[in-house]
């Protein structure tokens, strides 16, 4: 067991994520991303928001706007369904795990989010992950590159 905060993952997070993962073939009315946060009492990872918005910039600005209960910049975790097309191979989609810990986050929350990350990532069982601490790290190009293993978005 490696060093970890011991913060629990709420059952909701897993259920909601599994629904999201299974909804792969449903057209149109489909979840695009889930944002998770650690509750203010620092005990559980909970769902902050589930959205069907197809516009990546909406997702990105939601991460950037995240604040804690005192109105300070706050980290988040997220899963995003990245869709892309490879020439000659057709459409693909891949779910990416993102940890967003902006560099000006107070140390308390940086520590808690960093030491809970592996637990959540393992509970959701997502192999592809991105760590971002400034907004350039969550540009569409970066996320697309990571999801496609560098094949798309060049």
């Amino acid at each position: 067991m490696s060093l970890a905060s011991g913060v629990q993952i709420a059952d909701d997070c897993i259920t909601e994520f599994n629904n999201f993962r299974m909804s792969g073939n449903v057209k149109g009315d489909k979840t695009k991303f889930i944002i998770f946060k650690i509750s203010d009492d620092k005990k559980t990872v909970v769902i902050d928001e589930t959205s069907k918005d197809q516009d990546y910039e909406v997702f990105r600005s939601k991460l950037e706007a995240a604040r804690d209960d005192k109105g300070k910049v706050a980290p988040r975790y997220a899963v995003y369904d990245v869709e892309y097309e490879l020439p000659g191979e057709g459409k693909r989609s891949k779910i990416v795990f993102i940890s967003w810990v902006p560099s000006n986050t107070p140390m308390l929350w940086s520590m808690i989010y960093a030491s809970t990350r592996e637990n959540l990532k393992n509970a959701l069982n997502i192999p592809t992950s991105i760590h971002a601490d400034d907004k350039n790290d969550i540009e569409w190009k970066t996320v697309l590159g990571e999801a496609s293993g560098g094949k798309a978005g060049k």
Partner: protein, 472 residues
């Protein structure tokens, strides 16, 4: 608030435990309560030893600096590589770090502490439990930190002391590299720790140390001090001797570069402290010198390299305005290019100032910061190298040297022009000096951390080796 109403559980922090966090370094030992911003107890890891009326006496904490007692010698229980050498003394120094300011002395047996009259002929009957009452940490869980290359034996010895000597109800041993990475929000990072006795590079991936990549070398703050001493010997206009305050009875202000005008205090040989005491106090002046004067050549190329316009970097450095420094004896001068020279060998061994009397052997190229990083990266999977380079975390008090981060950034960008290199270093001095302590403080204060602790019961069942299984 009405003082007769006890604070509610929430104000006490609910189920949060008042754990103690102990971060032992070579130069200082940091201890404090979990949940606090900085360690309340910051003591030198050095201790003093002298004999008084035929008995050996020990001094701990800041008291070691104060009085030049006859025969006082200064020692350190840690080895220069960050691993404990003298366990008996390490235990005493660490214990002092929390009993002196945090837990206080435990109350003794009321019948024997001299404060109560013992009725004649009646001896106290209930003597059981007296011994466990005396253990200093019986009420506080303890989180300790360690370096990434601490051997199994040392880890087992540490939990043994915590459990058996101090009686802690719960224990955890955390790698300081992982704590530093987490404290900057990262589960994967290349942690560069510039300490007093050693510098280290620790690759951390998904919250785990990649042991094969861990690198360390002795070119830390104390090595820089030895370089400054070497510089002082050959200084212009005159060699500089550091005379600590305790050897000075009076002084007169002199102009820059003029010989000091000073009256010395003298100690007859039987009253004089050991040479190690003087060295310790000289080191304090050197620390001040490092904070006020020493500067890392900003790059992009090395100090000894030719600069862009055919003018050597050294020439450029020479023409920049210097920084003044006054020594305890009143001698003062402005330090120009020399303030760069004393640290340049952290990056370029050719720049090391030779000194045959130095306790440090001349550095080898493999010990420099850029080489340690190169070797650390070569020791890890090629796929994660770009992630590590994008998440370089700098910590340790000696990394506060003026210009260190900028230079390191230049060096890394030259060595790794392809991948994105990004350095994060706390701007706040306390966070840089106490990074691992603060990280441990946050974790140990979390109510949810209780599942990580090794309890006394588990220790008794499994023995000291449990630390290997639980604290990876």
């Amino acid at each position: 608030m009405n003082p007769s109403v006890p604070p509610s559980a929430a104000e006490y922090g609910g189920d949060e435990v008042s754990a103690i966090v102990l971060d032992p370094g070579f130069s200082t030992t940091r201890a404090g309560f979990a949940g606090e911003d900085t360690p309340k107890s910051l003591i030198p890891t050095y201790y003093g030893k002298y004999s008084h009326e035929g008995q050996e006496k020990l001094i701990f904490g800041d008291d070691i600096f104060v009085t030049p007692r006859p025969g006082l010698s200064i020692h350190n229980p840690m080895g220069r590589d960050g691993i404990v050498e003298d366990w008996d003394m390490a235990e005493k120094v660490w214990e002092y770090s929390f009993t002196s300011r945090l837990t206080g002395a435990k109350p003794g047996n009321p019948f024997q502490n001299g404060l109560n009259d013992v009725p004649e002929g009646e001896m106290p009957t209930e003597m059981e439990g007296v011994e466990s009452d005396e253990k200093p940490l019986a009420d506080s869980p303890l989180l300790m930190t360690e370096c990434g290359w601490n051997p199994t034996k040392a880890r087992e010895k540490t939990i043994e002391i915590a459990m058996e000597k101090w009686g802690t109800p719960a224990f955890y041993l955390a790698r300081n590299g992982v704590l530093a990475a987490f404290a900057s929000g990262k589960a994967s990072a290349l942690v560069i720790d510039i300490g007093a006795s050693s510098i280290s590079v620790t690759p951390v991936h998904d919250g785990m140390i990649l042991k094969r990549g861990v690198q360390h070398s002795p070119l830390g703050g104390d090595y820089i001090s030895s370089q400054i001493r070497a510089l002082f010997k050959s200084n212009n206009p005159q060699p500089i001797t550091i005379t600590p305050h305790y050897l000075i009875s009076s002084k007169t202000a002199v102009d820059a570069g003029q010989p000091p005008q000073v009256n010395y205090k003298t100690y007859p040989p039987e009253k004089a402290p050991d040479a190690s005491y003087r060295t310790l106090l000289e080191e304090r002046t050197l620390s001040e010198f490092k904070e006020c004067v020493v500067q890392v050549w900003p790059g992009p190329s090395k100090l000894l390299s030719p600069g862009p316009n055919g003018v050597s970097n050294e020439e450029v450095a020479r023409s920049s305005p210097g920084r003044p420094f006054e020594f305890p004896d009143g001698y003062n001068q402005i330090f120009g290019v020399d303030r760069y020279r004393v640290v340049e060998s952290l990056f370029d061994v050719k720049a090391a100032i030779p000194d045959p009397d130095s306790p440090f052997p001349a550095p080898t190229p493999a010990q420099t910061v850029p080489e340690l990083i190169k070797n650390a990266l070569n020791g890890v999977d090629v796929d994660i190298r770009p992630h590590l380079l994008a998440n370089v975390v700098i910590t340790g008090a000696s990394s506060l040297l003026h210009g260190f981060t900028d230079r390191l950034n230049q060096e890394l960008m030259q060595t790794y022009p392809g991948p994105r290199v990004r350095i994060s270093a706390a701007g706040n001095t306390a966070e840089r000096r106490f990074g691992s302590w603060i990280g441990g403080s946050i974790l140990a204060s979390l109510g949810t951390f209780h599942q990580m602790w090794i309890s006394k019961k588990e220790y008794e069942e499994h023995g000291p080796n449990i630390v290997e299984k639980r604290c990876k």
